[in-house]
Assembly symmetry: C2
Amino acid sequence: SPLVVDNPEALKAAVAKASPGDIILLKDKEWNNSGLRLQGNGTAGKPILIMPQTPGGVTFTGQSFVQMGGSYLVFKDFHFRNGYSPKREVISFRINNEVLANHCRVTGIVIENYSQPERFKSDSWITLYGKHNRIDHSTFVNKLNSGPLIIAELDDERSQQNEHSIDSNYFKGRQRFGSNGGETIRIGVSRYSLTASRTNIVRNFFERCNGEVEIVSIKSGENNVSFNTFLECEGGLVLRHGSGNVVEGNFFLGNNKPFTGGVRVINPNQKVVNNVFSDLQGVNFRAALAVLNGVPNSLINRYYQVKDALIEHNTFINSASILFGAGKDAERTLAPENVSFKHNLILSSGTEVYTNANTGNGILFSDNGLEKSFKGEVPQGFKVMKTSSIKVNGFSLPYHPDYGADVKKLPLIKKENTGASWYHPEPEKTIRKAMSFQVRSDQSQTLPALLKQAIAGDTIVLSEAANYKISAELLVSKPLIIMAAPGLKSRPVLIGTSAKSMDAFISIENGGDLLVKGIAFKGTYESFPAVDAGIRSTDRPMNRPYRLEINNCEFYDYNESSNAGFKASKSTLADSLVVLNSIFHHMSGAGIDLSSEKEDKGMYNAEYTVIKNCTFSNLLGAAINIYRGGNDESTLGPFVTIDHCTFNEVENREQGTVVRLIGAQQAAVTNSNFSYSGQGGRSVLFQEYRWDNILVDYCNFY
Amino acid sequence: SPLVVDNPEALKAAVAKASPGDIILLKDKEWNNSGLRLQGNGTAGKPILIMPQTPGGVTFTGQSFVQMGGSYLVFKDFHFRNGYSPKREVISFRINNEVLANHCRVTGIVIENYSQPERFKSDSWITLYGKHNRIDHSTFVNKLNSGPLIIAELDDERSQQNEHSIDSNYFKGRQRFGSNGGETIRIGVSRYSLTASRTNIVRNFFERCNGEVEIVSIKSGENNVSFNTFLECEGGLVLRHGSGNVVEGNFFLGNNKPFTGGVRVINPNQKVVNNVFSDLQGVNFRAALAVLNGVPNSLINRYYQVKDALIEHNTFINSASILFGAGKDAERTLAPENVSFKHNLILSSGTEVYTNANTGNGILFSDNGLEKSFKGEVPQGFKVMKTSSIKVNGFSLPYHPDYGADVKKLPLIKKENTGASWYHPEPEKTIRKAMSFQVRSDQSQTLPALLKQAIAGDTIVLSEAANYKISAELLVSKPLIIMAAPGLKSRPVLIGTSAKSMDAFISIENGGDLLVKGIAFKGTYESFPAVDAGIRSTDRPMNRPYRLEINNCEFYDYNESSNAGFKASKSTLADSLVVLNSIFHHMSGAGIDLSSEKEDKGMYNAEYTVIKNCTFSNLLGAAINIYRGGNDESTLGPFVTIDHCTFNEVENREQGTVVRLIGAQQAAVTNSNFSYSGQGGRSVLFQEYRWDNILVDYCNFY
Ligand SMILES: [Ca+2]
Ligand SMILES: [Ca+2]
């Protein structure tokens, strides 16, 4: 009977001693903080099998991680949850730089809630080294922190031309990361991209992998990406570096969700054939098909010219954009050359089939089909035709025997075909119903404990129009509401009475969301040390985006330039910050400060910022300061809406700016008044890129 | 006989038990890491005296600090050196917020080499709380880190109207700090500036206190600053906040050194009388006299309007600027009102007596004297006269019985009258003469140890035109030279062969200066991890500005956008960075990166940057990136000179900049060529303030 081990040391010894064909069972239980080093050698016919007593019966938690080395090891049916790796990866296909894994397999595993607590601490969940390794039938749930979920490294010859397989996995969501580093898979890296990787990414199901513009980032040559389904992914499969890659038989299904993308082509000798692109709303880098311009004399990590590409027999259904010469700008000036665009089938209800940013004839259009519903002028290389409709796996698709993808033969991978079959997550239980707690001003001191004990959805009601003495920051680590009792004559006022200066009255912690209504936040009070902000996001580790709504609040008497009404801390991302009907006055810093990501690497502090019907008056700093620096092209935000706001006596210093929106990619400032503000500089400052979407309208500037 | 104690606990007990008139002697020795808490009560006639067995016989080192509380304690004749405080101050006139010191005195002490290792970690050397305390006859040598050397805090009534005295001290140098926070004395803070402090700063000698624009920063009311000498200080006495202050009988002696300043007047009811301003070269905020414009509806930490000032009986000798309406801009729009400028005496060889940025008659000029050497038109309120010359303390001064300072009666304080009388520092001894070490390429591994053992002035010579394998960063912590042997056919090449990625080949550490000549720095080599920079300043704590000269070097093959040829780390300041005759090519980051101070608080990475005869080619990032953000007005730098440089194929990305000089206050870009560079953005980018001094000339842009 198979050996059963119950601790990492015993396991390590067992694997080291194992003979080909041995099965080593891990005792079913929680394995907390377990670092596994598995080094052994099976054979092709007789691998060494390492698995729990029952599938999913072993749960790795805390700071558990796995390193595999040797050959023909199979690591199977394990569950990683509620922790994160202390290493650069959760599972590594090497023990160290000397001992790599070859012909090894990770299968049937589940990794969930296993992200680094600090969102910019980078790691991967699995990194491939060596050759002929496989990751299959596994389920990966929403990695939150920086770094691709799966990486294949090609550092030296031992890991090149590797023939790895990443197949039949279920990538179950990855939310917007708000920075580069949100990839789901990366194969290779620019420095070694001129070598062949030959990794196979096949039959996987990618669901809402929205981390960034690259869902799968190919940075090496001769890979094969085939028969995968990309469902509602806000990004695409990107042939970023390396040549001779094949993209075949994939389904990109956008369901008309915004920003959903397809394939992006860069470098020579790429092949994109027999794919289906359906209802994709992405444009530019997220177009259903984006063929990029190159950079003359390009550095290896920039953009090589597209040459000799085959883009054939693909079907494009109701997608927003097919774009040649994507990214064309002062640097990316080299148009694609010798791109064969042939036998594709396009269904479009619009008036343009494709866009080409270049002139010249680098794209060779010939014999493509255009479904007869098309309303515009038929371009050269296309002819109008009628298609039939067939069902593939319950999904209706247009079909023509000579044009577009051969959908009769394509396996449309569904999520049921992928992932760990033993895994059936149950919904979490609730302890009680959310409820409401009334707090009088003489009970101020109970607030920290009350917030700690509260459960998601609870409401804290400040019941008096009086001063509430706050002597420790109020920490919000779950969705909560803090509000004034309705009908009070004036707002309850939070005042700081700690012996030490406080960072804020309220801090949004990891997992926290907050609606705050009808409260005043006064920064200085008597001789007590100042409070530096009304509300902030935490400076402790945070990997979950938060939501904050501020309604009918007042922020005043902040005397230092680093103070702010609301201040986002570094390495925190708001999913949304909504500020309504609020007043900011007599402050030396900013009213709303979302500028803590100063590294100029494309990070930012809030995906959506909405500020409506607010007044900013007598501010030394900017009223609103949003910053995203650098040239990164991975993300969609920040999205900024400023409407019906009033700015009076705000930031009149030399070169000062009242509303600073550096790097906002989508912004509208409307129906607002600026008076005696920005006299030494600007009322509104953008640093606009050509693809940004900026609107300033219906504003008065005095 | 007096009690002798030899440890902090015994001392604490002795002071607690002491009766008025007691003397407690500390045993002469080094007191390392000694935290002293002195709480006791003497009387006015019989203070408790705490001192070493012999003056200067006790040296406090390491993390020693002192806290005093109670009344009538005298802390005398101690020496603090070679350490820094673990608290917010070295000597505090309180034990904690409950126990303050009153009628206490610190006298005859010396503090030197006692700065926080991290330059932006802020502290003070002495902080006054309570009332009627005195700091006198002490010597303070070159505080390096952030924070005023002496602070008087006025947090609440117990410390207001305090009648403190800071007198007869010798402030022996404070080098340029390169940021706000380089004050020598600060009295009060804006939040409490409307209360009276009544601190006396008298008969002190300030020598080359160049930390920032404020040498003495008055931020409270009714202080008295009298009979001090300011010798060659690059800044001034600033009445920043608070009203009713008196500045009387001081000597500001510039010796025609650049940037030397006098008095800056802000707020109502200030009095500047009977002072001598001599040979001061400062302008604007560093003018001999600068009377500022105010801000309408000013926040308490901004600029209140000057009203009802008396500026009388002062003598101005050959000084560059007397300026009314200083700081006038879009924000500071309120001209001074009712300023009496009367009976002053001015010696000027120029053609303008003063400058007034405003119109109107807020300045009431009446009956001032103008020495007859004046060549220009005599303005209203002045008359020309002849003066006699008298000697005061060996110093020749002009004299007129009715005009200017009454120099016959003024005590001109000399350094000999101030400071700790027992203190006579000896020059440091040297171990041996500096010498030269030859290193062959097969001896590369000895370099780290060689650098460690080297003494100031040593030279390391790389003797072969070959690859030098570097597997650990070379640390330079004293002045050294690293150079190629003369006459080699090509440059010795540093290559990284560490198993881990390295931050740089060479790191300048605290205390280090470096001249590097004729060396190549190659960022990537075979499959070894990349080296992120050629040379960097350390990311470990650093409080001393360093000098670096790079001559005839080459930097290439850096593949990441965060890489750079030279990279300044955060919280480091180069006194000067000089790059001559060098080549930067094939890099994804910046050539020279001085942009790590991203906080927009006026910090920057190098005081003087000189780049001449250099070539930058095929760079993805900026060739030169210098950044100083924010509105701070405390500092002089960065000074930037770029001459005879060539930029080819550099930073063509959207909104990219080839030479980024944000916040450079003094800059010249001359005789340089830009080709196929900055195509998506700019060749040279400034964010210029009206007082900046910027020149771009004789450049070609293709
Ligand atoms: Ca990416
Ligand atoms: Ca200052």
